[in-house]
Protein backbone atom coordinates (compact mmCIF):
# COMPACT_ATOMS: atom_id res chain seq x y z
CA UNK A 1 0.00 0.00 0.00
CA UNK A 2 1.52 3.35 -1.00
CA UNK A 3 0.80 5.94 1.60
CA UNK A 4 0.68 9.50 0.35
CA UNK A 5 0.95 12.31 2.86
CA UNK A 6 -2.58 13.58 3.57
CA UNK A 7 -1.91 16.86 1.79
CA UNK A 8 -0.70 15.10 -1.36
CA UNK A 9 -4.06 14.49 -2.92
CA UNK A 10 -4.49 14.07 -6.62
CA UNK A 11 -7.23 16.61 -7.21
CA UNK A 12 -7.42 15.79 -10.89
CA UNK A 13 -9.13 12.60 -9.77
CA UNK A 14 -12.54 13.07 -11.26
CA UNK A 15 -14.62 12.81 -8.10
CA UNK A 16 -12.50 15.58 -6.49
CA UNK A 17 -12.12 17.86 -9.51
CA UNK A 18 -15.69 19.15 -9.64
CA UNK A 19 -16.19 21.68 -6.81
CA UNK A 20 -19.43 23.13 -5.47
CA UNK A 21 -20.54 26.41 -3.93
CA UNK A 22 -23.78 26.93 -2.00
CA UNK A 23 -25.38 28.26 -5.18
CA UNK A 24 -24.10 25.54 -7.51
CA UNK A 25 -26.37 22.94 -8.95
CA UNK A 26 -25.70 19.79 -6.96
CA UNK A 27 -26.23 16.14 -7.80
CA UNK A 28 -29.12 14.35 -6.10
CA UNK A 29 -28.32 13.79 -2.42
CA UNK A 30 -25.21 16.02 -2.39
CA UNK A 31 -26.74 18.89 -0.43
CA UNK A 32 -27.95 16.56 2.35
CA UNK A 33 -24.60 14.80 2.49
CA UNK A 34 -22.67 18.09 2.75
CA UNK A 35 -25.06 19.29 5.47
CA UNK A 36 -24.54 16.05 7.35
CA UNK A 37 -20.75 16.37 7.30
CA UNK A 38 -20.81 19.99 8.47
CA UNK A 39 -23.41 19.42 11.18
CA UNK A 40 -21.61 16.34 12.43
CA UNK A 41 -18.44 18.34 12.85
CA UNK A 42 -20.26 21.29 14.47
CA UNK A 43 -21.62 18.94 17.12
CA UNK A 44 -18.26 17.23 17.63
CA UNK A 45 -16.53 20.59 18.15
CA UNK A 46 -19.05 21.74 20.75
CA UNK A 47 -19.33 18.46 22.68
CA UNK A 48 -15.66 17.58 22.19
CA UNK A 49 -14.55 20.65 24.09
CA UNK A 50 -16.58 19.92 27.24
CA UNK A 51 -13.99 17.58 28.83
CA UNK A 52 -11.46 20.42 28.54
CA UNK A 53 -13.69 23.13 30.02
CA UNK A 54 -13.91 21.05 33.21
CA UNK A 55 -10.17 21.50 33.73
CA UNK A 56 -9.90 25.26 33.25
CA UNK A 57 -10.24 26.05 36.94
CA UNK A 58 -7.93 23.18 37.86
CA UNK A 59 -5.05 24.17 35.57
CA UNK A 60 -1.83 24.19 37.62
CA UNK A 61 -0.42 27.46 36.36
CA UNK A 62 -1.50 30.72 34.80
CA UNK A 63 -0.02 30.27 31.30
CA UNK A 64 -1.54 26.79 31.08
CA UNK A 65 -4.92 28.21 32.06
CA UNK A 66 -4.62 30.89 29.36
CA UNK A 67 -3.74 28.32 26.71
CA UNK A 68 -6.56 26.04 27.79
CA UNK A 69 -9.09 28.89 27.65
CA UNK A 70 -7.81 29.85 24.18
CA UNK A 71 -8.27 26.27 23.02
CA UNK A 72 -11.81 26.11 24.38
CA UNK A 73 -12.73 29.41 22.70
CA UNK A 74 -11.22 28.15 19.42
CA UNK A 75 -13.29 24.97 19.51
CA UNK A 76 -16.51 26.87 20.10
CA UNK A 77 -15.57 29.06 17.11
CA UNK A 78 -15.08 25.90 15.03
CA UNK A 79 -18.59 24.91 16.08
CA UNK A 80 -19.90 28.28 14.84
CA UNK A 81 -18.26 28.18 11.40
CA UNK A 82 -19.20 24.59 10.66
CA UNK A 83 -22.76 25.23 11.93
CA UNK A 84 -23.00 28.15 9.47
CA UNK A 85 -22.05 25.80 6.64
CA UNK A 86 -24.82 23.39 7.70
CA UNK A 87 -27.35 26.19 8.23
CA UNK A 88 -26.88 27.53 4.71
CA UNK A 89 -27.65 24.03 3.47
CA UNK A 90 -30.91 24.04 5.42
CA UNK A 91 -29.95 22.47 8.73
CA UNK A 92 -30.23 25.07 11.54
CA UNK A 93 -27.96 24.86 14.58
CA UNK A 94 -30.96 24.56 16.90
CA UNK A 95 -31.86 21.36 15.11
CA UNK A 96 -28.28 20.03 15.22
CA UNK A 97 -28.25 20.48 19.00
CA UNK A 98 -31.83 19.34 19.58
CA UNK A 99 -31.24 16.18 17.53
CA UNK A 100 -28.32 15.41 19.82
CA UNK A 101 -30.08 16.28 23.07
CA UNK A 102 -33.09 14.17 22.12
CA UNK A 103 -30.95 11.22 21.12
CA UNK A 104 -31.43 11.31 17.33
CA UNK A 105 -27.73 11.94 16.58
CA UNK A 106 -24.97 9.70 17.85
CA UNK A 107 -21.53 10.91 18.88
CA UNK A 108 -18.38 9.22 17.64
CA UNK A 109 -16.75 7.02 20.26
CA UNK A 110 -14.04 9.45 21.49
CA UNK A 111 -16.61 12.05 22.58
CA UNK A 112 -18.13 9.76 25.20
CA UNK A 113 -15.31 10.12 27.71
CA UNK A 114 -13.77 12.62 30.09
CA UNK A 115 -10.35 12.99 31.72
CA UNK A 116 -9.78 11.45 35.14
CA UNK A 117 -6.47 13.16 35.85
CA UNK A 118 -4.55 16.24 34.73
CA UNK A 119 -1.79 14.05 33.29
CA UNK A 120 -4.34 12.38 31.01
CA UNK A 121 -5.12 15.62 29.13
CA UNK A 122 -1.82 15.98 27.27
CA UNK A 123 -1.51 12.52 25.67
CA UNK A 124 -5.27 12.26 24.99
CA UNK A 125 -5.42 15.71 23.40
CA UNK A 126 -2.28 14.98 21.37
CA UNK A 127 -3.86 11.82 19.95
CA UNK A 128 -7.12 13.63 19.22
CA UNK A 129 -5.57 16.75 17.68
CA UNK A 130 -3.19 14.84 15.45
CA UNK A 131 -6.01 12.68 14.13
CA UNK A 132 -8.14 15.78 13.51
CA UNK A 133 -5.24 17.39 11.61
CA UNK A 134 -4.73 14.31 9.42
CA UNK A 135 -8.47 14.20 8.66
CA UNK A 136 -8.70 17.94 7.91
CA UNK A 137 -5.64 17.91 5.64
CA UNK A 138 -7.40 15.33 3.50
CA UNK A 139 -10.85 16.96 3.75
CA UNK A 140 -9.29 20.22 2.64
CA UNK A 141 -9.32 18.72 -0.88
CA UNK A 142 -13.02 17.91 -0.68
CA UNK A 143 -15.58 19.20 -3.15
CA UNK A 144 -17.78 21.48 -1.03
CA UNK A 145 -15.99 24.83 -1.01
CA UNK A 146 -17.74 26.57 1.92
CA UNK A 147 -16.68 23.62 4.08
CA UNK A 148 -13.09 23.62 2.82
CA UNK A 149 -12.92 27.37 3.53
CA UNK A 150 -14.13 26.73 7.09
CA UNK A 151 -11.43 24.09 7.46
CA UNK A 152 -8.75 26.53 6.35
CA UNK A 153 -9.60 28.71 9.32
CA UNK A 154 -9.85 25.73 11.67
CA UNK A 155 -6.52 24.17 10.67
CA UNK A 156 -4.49 27.17 11.84
CA UNK A 157 -5.98 26.86 15.29
CA UNK A 158 -5.66 23.08 15.42
CA UNK A 159 -1.93 23.45 14.96
CA UNK A 160 -1.85 25.48 18.19
CA UNK A 161 -3.89 22.79 19.99
CA UNK A 162 -1.45 20.16 18.79
CA UNK A 163 1.58 22.02 20.09
CA UNK A 164 -0.18 22.82 23.34
CA UNK A 165 -0.97 19.12 23.90
CA UNK A 166 2.61 18.20 23.07
CA UNK A 167 3.89 20.77 25.57
CA UNK A 168 1.62 19.43 28.30
CA UNK A 169 2.84 15.88 27.70
CA UNK A 170 6.45 17.05 27.60
CA UNK A 171 6.04 18.83 30.93
CA UNK A 172 4.69 15.68 32.58
CA UNK A 173 7.34 13.43 31.05
CA UNK A 174 10.29 15.68 31.89
CA UNK A 175 9.34 17.36 35.17
CA UNK A 176 6.67 15.01 36.52
CA UNK A 177 7.07 12.45 39.27
CA UNK A 178 7.29 8.75 38.41
CA UNK A 179 3.62 8.46 39.27
CA UNK A 180 2.68 11.31 36.94
CA UNK A 181 4.72 9.82 34.09
CA UNK A 182 2.93 6.55 34.69
CA UNK A 183 -0.43 8.30 34.33
CA UNK A 184 0.67 9.80 31.01
CA UNK A 185 1.79 6.35 29.85
CA UNK A 186 -1.58 4.87 30.83
CA UNK A 187 -3.42 7.70 29.11
CA UNK A 188 -1.58 6.89 25.87
CA UNK A 189 -2.46 3.22 26.16
CA UNK A 190 -6.11 3.97 26.95
CA UNK A 191 -6.65 6.54 24.20
CA UNK A 192 -4.66 4.96 21.34
CA UNK A 193 -7.24 2.18 20.71
CA UNK A 194 -10.09 4.71 21.01
CA UNK A 195 -8.51 6.88 18.32
CA UNK A 196 -7.77 3.87 16.11
CA UNK A 197 -11.49 3.08 16.28
CA UNK A 198 -12.39 6.73 15.68
CA UNK A 199 -11.09 6.46 12.09
CA UNK A 200 -13.88 3.97 11.43
CA UNK A 201 -14.05 0.29 10.50
CA UNK A 202 -11.48 -1.23 8.11
CA UNK A 203 -12.15 -0.43 4.45
CA UNK A 204 -14.66 -2.73 2.85
CA UNK A 205 -14.27 -3.72 -0.79
CA UNK A 206 -17.07 -1.35 -1.67
CA UNK A 207 -15.94 1.86 0.05
CA UNK A 208 -15.45 3.53 -3.34
CA UNK A 209 -19.16 3.24 -4.02
CA UNK A 210 -20.07 5.00 -0.75
CA UNK A 211 -21.95 8.18 -1.84
CA UNK A 212 -19.81 10.38 0.48
CA UNK A 213 -16.71 9.07 -1.25
CA UNK A 214 -18.19 9.40 -4.73
CA UNK A 215 -19.26 13.00 -4.04
CA UNK A 216 -15.72 13.80 -2.92
CA UNK A 217 -16.99 14.78 0.54
CA UNK A 218 -14.94 11.93 1.94
CA UNK A 219 -11.49 12.27 0.40
CA UNK A 220 -9.53 9.33 1.78
CA UNK A 221 -10.48 5.88 3.02
CA UNK A 222 -10.50 4.98 6.75
CA UNK A 223 -7.44 2.76 6.43
CA UNK A 224 -5.44 5.30 4.43
CA UNK A 225 -6.07 7.97 7.06
CA UNK A 226 -5.37 5.60 9.97
CA UNK A 227 -2.02 4.62 8.46
CA UNK A 228 -1.06 8.24 7.78
CA UNK A 229 -1.96 9.17 11.32
CA UNK A 230 0.15 6.38 12.89
CA UNK A 231 3.12 7.40 10.73
CA UNK A 232 2.79 10.92 12.01
CA UNK A 233 2.04 10.42 15.68
CA UNK A 234 3.82 7.29 16.94
CA UNK A 235 7.32 8.79 16.54
CA UNK A 236 6.14 11.91 18.39
CA UNK A 237 5.13 9.87 21.44
CA UNK A 238 8.37 7.89 21.36
CA UNK A 239 10.29 11.15 21.27
CA UNK A 240 8.33 12.34 24.31
CA UNK A 241 9.47 9.27 26.24
CA UNK A 242 6.27 7.24 26.02
CA UNK A 243 6.86 3.52 25.56
CA UNK A 244 5.00 2.19 22.53
CA UNK A 245 4.37 -1.49 23.04
CA UNK A 246 4.85 -3.24 19.64
CA UNK A 247 1.65 -5.16 20.45
CA UNK A 248 -0.20 -1.83 20.28
CA UNK A 249 1.42 -0.42 17.15
CA UNK A 250 4.42 -1.43 15.13
CA UNK A 251 5.65 -0.59 11.65
CA UNK A 252 6.15 -3.58 9.37
CA UNK A 253 9.16 -2.77 7.19
CA UNK A 254 8.38 -5.40 4.64
CA UNK A 255 4.76 -4.45 4.02
CA UNK A 256 5.53 -0.77 4.67
CA UNK A 257 2.49 -0.36 6.84
CA UNK A 258 1.47 -0.28 10.48
CA UNK A 259 0.25 -3.27 12.41
CA UNK A 260 -1.90 -2.28 15.35
CA UNK A 261 -4.00 -3.96 17.99
CA UNK A 262 -7.47 -4.16 16.52
CA UNK A 263 -9.89 -1.97 18.50
CA UNK A 264 -12.83 -3.65 20.21
CA UNK A 265 -15.40 -2.92 17.50
CA UNK A 266 -18.30 -4.43 19.42
CA UNK A 267 -17.64 -2.20 22.41
CA UNK A 268 -17.09 0.82 20.12
CA UNK A 269 -20.46 0.27 18.46
CA UNK A 270 -22.14 -0.21 21.80
CA UNK A 271 -20.74 3.07 23.15
CA UNK A 272 -21.81 5.01 20.08
CA UNK A 273 -25.31 3.58 20.34
CA UNK A 274 -25.90 3.37 24.07
CA UNK A 275 -23.55 6.06 25.35
CA UNK A 276 -20.17 5.93 27.09
CA UNK A 277 -19.18 6.94 30.64
CA UNK A 278 -19.74 10.69 30.23
CA UNK A 279 -22.35 10.72 27.49
CA UNK A 280 -25.23 11.65 29.78
CA UNK A 281 -23.23 14.43 31.41
CA UNK A 282 -22.39 16.07 28.08
CA UNK A 283 -25.91 15.59 26.77
CA UNK A 284 -27.54 17.23 29.77
CA UNK A 285 -24.98 20.05 29.71
CA UNK A 286 -25.93 20.92 26.11
CA UNK A 287 -29.62 20.52 26.96
CA UNK A 288 -29.24 22.97 29.86
CA UNK A 289 -27.49 25.62 27.76
CA UNK A 290 -30.05 25.27 24.99
CA UNK A 291 -32.77 25.91 27.51
CA UNK A 292 -30.93 28.71 29.29
CA UNK A 293 -30.34 30.57 26.02
CA UNK A 294 -33.82 30.02 24.62
CA UNK A 295 -35.01 33.50 25.52
CA UNK A 296 -32.08 35.15 23.79
CA UNK A 297 -32.57 33.11 20.66
CA UNK A 298 -36.29 33.80 20.50
CA UNK A 299 -36.08 37.51 21.19
CA UNK A 300 -32.86 38.41 19.42
CA UNK A 301 -33.00 36.25 16.33
CA UNK A 302 -36.68 36.96 15.72
CA UNK A 303 -35.93 40.69 15.96
CA UNK A 304 -33.66 40.34 12.94
CA UNK A 305 -35.22 42.05 9.94
Amino acid sequence: MTVLAPDEVDESEQRLARKYELWSEMPEGYREAAARIASFQALAEVVGVLPFTEWIDRAPDYARKQMLIAKVQDEVGHGHVTARVAEDLGLPREQILTDFVEGRTNLLNIFHYGFDSWEELGPAALLMNSSAIVQFQALHHGTYLPYTRALRKIEKEESFHYHHAMDMTHQTMVYGTAEQRQRAQEAFETWLPRLLAYFGPPDSDTYRSNPMYKFGLKVRSNDELRQQWLTKIIPVFKELGIHVDPQLARFDDERQEWDYASPDWVETKRIIKEGGPRYEQWRSHIAASLERNATYRDVALKAAV
Binding site: W23, S24, H80, V81, R84, R149, F160
Partner: protein, 108 residues
Amino acid sequence: MRRGGDADVYEVFARFGDDPQEPIRWLGSVRSGDPELAWHAAKEIYTRREDCTLLWVAQRAAMVLSEPSDAEALRSPSRLSYRVPAFPGRHRRARMKAAALAAAEASS
Protein backbone atom coordinates in the same frame (compact mmCIF):
# COMPACT_ATOMS: atom_id res chain seq x y z
CA MET B 1 -28.85 38.41 -9.57
CA ARG B 2 -30.62 37.65 -6.35
CA ARG B 3 -31.16 39.21 -2.93
CA GLY B 4 -29.16 37.61 -0.12
CA GLY B 5 -32.03 36.27 2.00
CA ASP B 6 -31.66 35.38 5.70
CA ALA B 7 -31.91 38.53 7.82
CA ASP B 8 -29.94 37.00 10.68
CA VAL B 9 -26.91 36.08 8.57
CA TYR B 10 -23.99 38.48 8.24
CA GLU B 11 -21.17 37.99 5.75
CA VAL B 12 -17.71 38.68 7.16
CA PHE B 13 -14.93 40.54 5.33
CA ALA B 14 -11.45 41.31 6.64
CA ARG B 15 -7.95 42.36 5.79
CA PHE B 16 -4.98 40.84 7.59
CA GLY B 17 -1.56 42.47 7.95
CA ASP B 18 -0.40 46.04 7.46
CA ASP B 19 -0.35 46.20 3.67
CA PRO B 20 -3.19 48.58 2.73
CA GLN B 21 -2.93 47.35 -0.89
CA GLU B 22 -3.96 43.89 0.22
CA PRO B 23 -7.53 43.21 -0.99
CA ILE B 24 -10.24 42.74 1.61
CA ARG B 25 -11.18 39.06 1.75
CA TRP B 26 -14.50 37.35 2.28
CA LEU B 27 -14.11 34.88 5.17
CA GLY B 28 -17.53 33.35 5.77
CA SER B 29 -20.55 34.28 7.83
CA VAL B 30 -21.93 34.59 11.34
CA ARG B 31 -25.48 34.45 12.63
CA SER B 32 -26.79 37.26 14.80
CA GLY B 33 -29.95 39.21 15.54
CA ASP B 34 -28.09 42.51 15.61
CA PRO B 35 -25.43 44.16 13.38
CA GLU B 36 -23.08 45.26 16.17
CA LEU B 37 -23.26 41.86 17.83
CA ALA B 38 -22.57 40.32 14.43
CA TRP B 39 -19.37 42.36 14.23
CA HIS B 40 -18.30 41.15 17.67
CA ALA B 41 -19.11 37.56 16.79
CA ALA B 42 -17.02 37.92 13.61
CA LYS B 43 -14.14 39.33 15.65
CA GLU B 44 -14.26 36.45 18.13
CA ILE B 45 -14.64 33.74 15.49
CA TYR B 46 -12.57 34.88 12.50
CA THR B 47 -9.70 37.00 13.83
CA ARG B 48 -8.20 34.64 16.40
CA ARG B 49 -4.74 34.13 14.88
CA GLU B 50 -3.50 36.50 12.17
CA ASP B 51 -3.33 40.25 12.85
CA CYS B 52 -6.57 41.65 11.56
CA THR B 53 -6.41 45.29 10.45
CA LEU B 54 -9.91 45.69 9.05
CA LEU B 55 -13.19 43.91 9.76
CA TRP B 56 -16.55 44.45 8.07
CA VAL B 57 -19.84 42.63 8.35
CA ALA B 58 -22.76 43.02 5.95
CA GLN B 59 -26.27 41.71 6.40
CA ARG B 60 -26.76 39.08 3.74
CA ALA B 61 -30.33 40.21 3.11
CA ALA B 62 -29.04 43.65 2.11
CA MET B 63 -26.58 42.31 -0.42
CA VAL B 64 -27.12 41.71 -4.10
CA LEU B 65 -25.27 38.62 -5.28
CA SER B 66 -24.47 37.26 -8.69
CA GLU B 67 -25.82 33.88 -9.74
CA PRO B 68 -24.44 31.30 -12.17
CA SER B 69 -26.73 32.75 -14.86
CA ASP B 70 -24.86 36.08 -14.55
CA ALA B 71 -21.56 34.49 -15.49
CA GLU B 72 -21.86 35.37 -19.17
CA ALA B 73 -22.63 39.03 -18.46
CA LEU B 74 -19.69 39.24 -16.05
CA ARG B 75 -17.06 37.80 -18.37
CA SER B 76 -15.61 40.94 -20.00
CA PRO B 77 -12.64 39.83 -22.14
CA SER B 78 -14.55 37.24 -24.17
CA ARG B 79 -17.70 39.32 -24.55
CA LEU B 80 -16.07 42.73 -25.03
CA SER B 81 -12.96 41.76 -26.94
CA TYR B 82 -12.45 45.34 -28.24
CA ARG B 83 -11.38 46.39 -24.71
CA VAL B 84 -8.29 44.22 -24.48
CA PRO B 85 -4.81 45.69 -25.20
CA ALA B 86 -4.12 43.42 -28.18
CA PHE B 87 -7.28 44.51 -29.99
CA PRO B 88 -6.11 47.93 -31.31
CA GLY B 89 -2.96 46.29 -32.77
CA ARG B 90 -5.01 43.64 -34.53
CA HIS B 91 -7.34 46.34 -35.76
CA ARG B 92 -4.41 48.34 -37.19
CA ARG B 93 -2.82 45.32 -38.90
CA ALA B 94 -6.13 44.34 -40.47
CA ARG B 95 -6.55 47.89 -41.82
CA MET B 96 -2.99 47.96 -43.25
CA LYS B 97 -3.46 44.55 -44.82
CA ALA B 98 -6.69 45.68 -46.49
CA ALA B 99 -4.99 48.84 -47.78
CA ALA B 100 -2.04 46.87 -49.17
CA LEU B 101 -4.43 44.46 -50.88
CA ALA B 102 -6.39 47.34 -52.40
CA ALA B 103 -3.13 48.97 -53.66
CA ALA B 104 -1.99 45.70 -55.22
CA GLU B 105 -5.33 45.26 -56.97
CA ALA B 106 -5.27 48.84 -58.27
CA SER B 107 -1.79 48.41 -59.82
CA SER B 108 -2.58 45.11 -61.55
